[in-house]
Symmetry: none
Subunit: 137 residues, 4 copies
């Protein structure tokens, strides 16, 4: 419960964003379930070897995304999915649509044919659902 997330300070992706992605992924894969408690910002910061403000920023973003819920003075918990959808679902879906469009373009320029890319797409689904552990199947 303290090694399931790693962070690369040299990545172009901001560290707080890596945490956001990591936790969203853990929830989607079923490793974290609604009601589960996340480490405190300071504990998490220690185990990730980063500053606690960075974790706090990630938690705030995750709360805005309705992935987690902060209970005053008690801690941070995984939210129940679908209960309160994020306020900007529409925009996020539009952004996701654009991400897919750009992915197709990138695939074209990397010389991937349609079949290959569709296989990659389905493989990515399995990876997102808990690759190694196969929890999502």
């Amino acid at each position: 419960m303290a090694v399931w997330l790693q962070v690369d300070p040299r990545s172009p992706t901001p560290v707080y964003q890596q945490i956001v992605d990591g936790i969203k992924g853990a929830v989607a894969a079923g490793w974290l379930k609604p009601g589960d408690r996340l480490p405190s910002v300071r504990d998490f910061a220690v185990s990730l070897a980063i500053n606690h403000n960075t974790v706090a920023k990630a938690y705030q973003e995750l709360e805005r995304s309705r992935v987690i819920e902060v209970v005053r003075g008690r801690g941070t918990f995984v939210a129940s999915p679908g209960q309160r959808p994020p306020p900007d679902v529409e925009e996020r879906i539009e952004k996701l649509r654009d991400t897919l469009r750009l992915a197709w373009i990138e695939a074209y320029h990397l010389g991937l044919v349609e079949d290959e890319f569709e296989r990659m797409f389905r493989q990515a689904r399995d990876d997102a659902r808990g690759g190694e552990g196969k929890e999502g199947l």
Copy 2:
């Protein structure tokens, strides 16, 4: 040849990246064909109303991606696809794989079911292939 690309300085996506995406997209859609000549850095900068350094940075990135070829003294041209694949294809494919994985995760948190997301994926392919004009079919 100067209105097919628009750039939004207020977007969170860097302007040079918008140019890269725009040109990659135009090539993938078939609007730009191998051998077509691109505007000069300075002309392009003027018609996009941005700094020419920004266009230069985009062209550099596009050359590294083997999407365009700069012929000193003659101009900049769309490259033939697949001739000289970019040196870091492996890395780029890995990044693309990760993009798709994150997209599945995001879809989960936006409450999209598998069918919806797969439909979105195929729709994105058609959009990437020239949406309105249907050139790519």
Copy 3:
């Protein structure tokens, strides 16, 4: 006498503040009348499923606001309105004035026109006076 107040630990509003608001609201709506006895700190804490220190803090604040009166050894009672105004009325009125000013500003940024907002203001009066039960009319 124990279900008319609910508290949400996940709300950004501190729990003790929710209690204060709830009791002030119940008094203003006429659900609680001068002389009515409030639950003991410990009983209230049990029925709200929270720490008793939190209830105690709420009661302290309510006493400073002259909404309730604590009679040592006998219990806690709803005070008679207007008898002993809180010592800092001026300050509180000034704060209320500022709240209204900020509300107008927020209304502007939410695109509400003057009429809409005034209607909302009057509707809020009816809500404060006991919404469903109409006791305050």
Copy 4:
């Protein structure tokens, strides 16, 4: 253009929130107009005698509220109202409704009669519209 906002570090309202409120107020009053440029985070921090991170946090919140727009590398500008409403308008309106309800309750406990409070409400509108300067009339 550098003294129109003051900040009180001892206020219970967070400093970044004071900045947010101040700028929202200046826009609502007409002191700041769409397209106007705001001071850079660092300049503003100096003139407010606070840390630049605090200003940055306020700017990010204002951007989420669609009150300002950040143009990469160029600066921060007042947005055109109503163009892109904030993604969570519904929730904000609900919160505003609750604010008004609580204001009525508070008014009751401060011994204000209905007429007085309605006058205060209209006075607050005039204050929000640029009190001293009367720009909004």
